[in-house]
Symmetry: C2
Subunit: 326 residues, 2 copies
């Protein structure tokens, strides 16, 4: 119902719509209309009420509400139908996504929140995400694959973000495996988790946290040196709704490519955006904690990083990479 | 308290112990002793009560109760301390183990049940497990490793079972990756699951289902041709308690080897028990469903099966293997 009310107000393009006419069209009471308008205001919609004139939508709030995101969205799997869960505030979108996935949530379900109170990045790092200024969501994917294939979906997600940035004329750089960088600072973090058997992945949850409209001075001091945002790259705020919609479409497109053809095209695109290959790197392996230096050569068919070192080629499946010759 | 009562009755080696003396030693009321005795009887302990004489343990039930399993058990991690959860009946031990692991259960926690009402084997196959005749348990492991390392713990579990069988003078054969076979029929099934991030495994749950004291004629007709049991191999029932205790000790020993030295020794032992390598095999890959034929050459450093086919070497990470030249 809220979605229908918003659509009616949008259609009026800034003019008042009487509560009576809304009630009539939706076949509900005027009190019910009034209650829903109050709820929409709480969500952040700027709706003006004036006696008999009724209700007017002054400005469409840049909230990632299903009504705003799904209306006319060109996706087939991701966030399609009722596969979208919206919360104003969440501990962590990955956490809720895992719960929903354990309870059987469909392939392509999206969990989105305006803020995270306990968001984590890779390696348990905290993720700064002030309310309404980030784009925070998790994708639940159920591909037919083995546990060893899961990291590739992380690269896929990074490519989807990079493609979306390109659509908004923002330069996109990917540091292996999935950090989106600007000027050596991080703009987007991706945290991928899974539940699996040896024979098959039960589900993958890809959590994506985007610093959207955070101005440089808004970052806490300890993060300032290592973080950037879409707004900083753009030199002004972007529409979170538009960006998120475009990103979901990119995710959907790439996910369907993967399901039909595998990862070859994704990896080609990844290489195009990457800033790691061909450079001297310092590596900390995630499993052993081992540190080594070398030149990042390429990614292999598993998405792992091949590094040529003084002791020969090393394959890095997960870990921290810093680029040394820049 | 139940454990202490059982210990006291055991110490009496078939003689009566008065309720009063038990109550005194444990500093509880006689009513409390009586209630606990009733509970122990329900568990299956054969305890005789006779007026003033008190209680006598006639025969130690072959139940996998923590009291029976953990008393004097020589393990350091697995089932150590309070890391053992016992249920008479469970849907599936893996399911409860995953719930406990999600809630933070410790490395080495064991979940054991006398029967499973919804037990599954690999590839969602049902697992036949009549009450009190199987050994059904799940290990919760929290090794420091990557998702791609998880399958190796499945091989480790198979080796632990094989070593235990050897201690009981039962011949043990492992079909890749982890089926314990006798006369071409399956004796033990292992189902490994995990929760992971790209950088690290959160936990691995290794579910082990052993056909212990199931006589050949007790199997349902459709399973009879493909299933065997320890009792069939042994030519008579075995002590489930003794076997389970020995198996937990083997699991503990191998797990500590893995944590300290990696999988090299485990793989050596696996090769010794295996009946797959060197044989012509038919393979169905778990991820693609692809079928191919070839000769099983070896396992690689990931525990994957290397098969030489007419089209070159193939690496099988998960799937079904049947041996053709036997």
């Amino acid at each position: 119902m809220k979605r229908k009310i918003i659509d009616m107000l949008k259609d009026a393009t800034g003019n008042f719509v009487s509560g009576e006419s809304i009630a009539e069209k939706l076949n509900v009471t005027r009190t019910s209309v009034w209650k829903n308008i109050q709820a929409l205001k709480k969500f952040g919609y700027d709706i003006e009420s004036r006696g008999k004139l009724g209700y007017k939508l002054n400005r469409i709030a840049d909230l990632l509400l299903p009504a705003a995101i799904q209306s006319g969205l060109g996706t087939k799997i991701i966030a399609a139908g009722n596969r979208m869960v919206y919360k104003v505030s969440l501990d962590s979108t990955n956490k809720l996504a895992k719960q929903l996935a354990n309870a059987g949530a469909e392939d392509g379900t999206v969990v989105v929140a305006e803020e995270q109170t306990g968001g984590k990045g890779r390696l348990e790092r905290n993720f700064f995400s002030p309310r309404g200024k980030s784009i925070l969501f998790s994708l639940i994917l159920r591909p037919r694959c083995l546990p060893k294939d899961a990291p590739k979906f992380t690269l896929m997600a990074a490519v989807a973000v990079a493609n979306t940035m390109q659509r908004f004329n923002l330069p996109a750089q990917i540091k292996w495996p999935n950090d989106i960088m600007f000027d050596g600072r991080k703009v987007v973090g991706i945290l991928t988790e899974m539940s699996a058997q040896i024979e098959k992945v039960n589900y993958i949850v890809v959590g994506i946290g985007i610093n959207a409209n955070i101005a440089p001075e808004e970052f806490p001091p300890e993060i300032k040196k290592i973080a950037s945002s879409l707004a900083e790259i753009n030199g002004g705020e972007i529409s979170r709704v538009d960006f998120f919609r475009a990103l979901l479409e990119e995710c959907d497109k790439l996910y369907r490519v993967v399901n039909e053809e595998g990862f070859q095209k994704i990896f080609q695109q990844w290489r195009r955006f990457n800033i790691t290959l061909g450079h001297e790197v310092k590596v900390i392996a995630a499993d052993t904690g081992e540190i080594f230096f070398g030149v990042a050569e390429d990614i292999d068919e598993d998405g792992a990083l091949i590094v040529s070192t003084a002791n020969g080629r090393q394959t890095l499946y997960a870990g921290d990479v810093s680029i040394r010759d820049r």
